[in-house]
């Protein structure tokens, strides 16, 4: 067997591709489902926290800062394991899917809060002056004047952070969420061949490459607005 054939046999074995395609496809479905629920929850929660922080209530601010710093400091895998194996001991049992969703949503929310808050504080003070001087109240000023500018500033970091966190859905394989990596690794252990993992890698490329390209487009599209 020459090198090329051995390579194909190790990574692209046709019989295994056919055998495990359905598993990988169902993994892709799981990954899409969990990633999109994480993105939705994380963005909504993170923006909400940034808005609450803008009220500058001391206690709320301290709690938000602690939340954001802790979740950003610890590797997400640690939280995934902690929640999955720890919560049952206090009588709370969550499915693996729910644990992954909860942890990654909170981690994403922590980053989103910091990014959006940085955006809010970087909007010029004169914008508040102008809005308040025309009689707009705090909430309307925030919603119609400050937030649109803050979000525009935040879009590039939000995009890259969102992509980074959603790739962490692969951590689901550790606790048995049947997402792409989990499907691929269990197929590898059954077949003793790396082909299913290669299929998983390709599935990630197919899934995330468009998102990465979209992210780059967004970054160039909004970057000039910083001026």
């Amino acid at each position: 067997m020459d090198g090329g054939a051995a390579f194909v046999d190790a990574f692209f074995k046709p019989a295994l591709i056919a055998r495990y395609a359905p598993e990988i496809v169902s993994g892709v479905g799981q990954t899409i489902l969990i990633a999109s629920t994480i993105v939705l929850t994380g963005l909504v929660l993170g923006v909400t926290l940034a808005l609450i922080r803008s009220l500058r209530l001391p206690i709320a601010t301290v709690m938000i800062v602690i939340f954001a710093d802790v979740l950003r400091a610890v590797p997400p895998l640690v939280f995934v394991l902690l929640v999955y194996f720890g919560l049952p001991n206090v009588g709370v049992t969550l499915s693996a899917f729910a644990v992954l969703w909860l942890v990654l949503s909170l981690v994403l929310a922590a980053f989103v809060e910091e990014i959006v808050w940085a955006g809010i504080t970087s909007v010029a003070k004169g914008q508040w002056d102008a809005a308040r001087s025309t009689g707009l109240n705090f909430a309307t000023t925030l919603r119609d004047v400050i937030l649109p500018q803050a979000l525009r500033l935040s879009i590039p970091p939000l995009t890259s952070r969102t992509i980074a966190i959603t790739k962490n859905t692969a951590l689901g394989s550790v606790i048995g969420v049947p997402e792409i990596l989990n499907q691929a690794t269990s197929a590898v252990s059954f077949s003793g061949n790396a082909t299913p993992l290669m299929m998983g890698a390709i599935a990630y490329v197919v899934l995330f490459l468009p998102v990465v390209i979209f992210g780059r487009w967004v970054e160039t599209r909004f970057a000039w607005r910083r001026a």
Partner: protein
């Protein structure tokens, strides 16, 4: 008619930043239709006074009366005062994400609660007043400084304020753009608008102001008609300031 009642009055206005006294007890009455011109060295409290007049800054002591009504209490409707007393800023402070018309109509829709159509009609009228109706769809970064400041004025006018405060409206402008803004202010004066103007445009003060106030160290040092202040100032500090700025 309540012709003797000032449209805007402050009594004993004081403001401190830490230990620094920005306003050391200001008493001022502004008559309807009057153009009051405020001059003074940097740091004398001119901006602070203006910002207190529509309570962008909260004074420590003193009263603000609008048409005789005390507006200084905590429970007073701040946004009502601000709607009556408009403000124009040195740095324009236009909303960069909105068109000229969007800038002008935002408060009309959200504060006066007009429909979009009604607000657009009001906004276009305000832009016409400052000669920029054809720029309604332009974003601030597509406008010259003078045009941006006129949009800023239109934004204040769209709420039909009784008083407009101008804080160095032309200081950020190239000399050739100053004229268009002063022209708009002159028109406003002619139309009977009450205005309080902080500015270094002494020539404009001479021809348009009813009264010139000289401030120093948070207090009103001297005030009077422009020709009196500019040609026969009594206070040495006023004279020193005027010769320094070459007026």
């Amino acid at each position: 008619m309540t012709t003797d009642q000032p449209i805007l009055e402050v009594r004993g206005l004081q403001k401190q930043y830490g230990r620094h006294v920005a306003l050391a007890g200001i008493d001022l009455k502004i008559a309807a239709g009057e153009l009051v011109f405020v001059i003074g060295p940097s740091g004398s409290g001119k901006s602070t006074l203006l910002r207190c007049l529509n309570r962008l800054e909260e004074p420590d002591h003193g009263q603000i009366l609008f048409e005789g009504q005390d507006m200084s209490g905590k429970k007073n409707d701040l946004n009502l005062l601000r709607q009556r007393v408009g403000m124009v800023f040195q740095a324009f402070n236009l909303y960069p994400h909105l068109t000229a018309l969007g800038n002008v109509t935002l408060a009309v829709r959200k504060v006066l609660r007009k429909s979009r159509e009604a607000a657009d009609a009001i906004g276009l009228a305000a832009l016409r007043q400052v000669g920029l109706v054809e720029k309604a769809g332009s974003y601030p970064n597509e406008l010259s400084g003078g045009q941006q400041q006129r949009v800023g004025i239109a934004r204040a006018l769209a709420l039909e304020p009784k008083v407009v405060l101008f804080d160095e409206p032309t200081s950020a402008l190239d000399p050739e753009l100053v004229r268009s803004v002063l022209e708009v202010m002159r028109d406003l004066k002619r139309a009977g608008m009450t205005m309080v103007v902080v500015s270094h445009e002494m020539k404009f003060a001479r021809e348009a102001a009813d009264r010139v106030i000289f401030m120093a160290e948070g207090a009103i040092v001297e005030q009077g008609p422009p020709e009196e202040i500019f040609s026969h100032a009594r206070e040495p500090r006023t004279r020193a300031f005027l010769s320094q700025v070459g007026a």
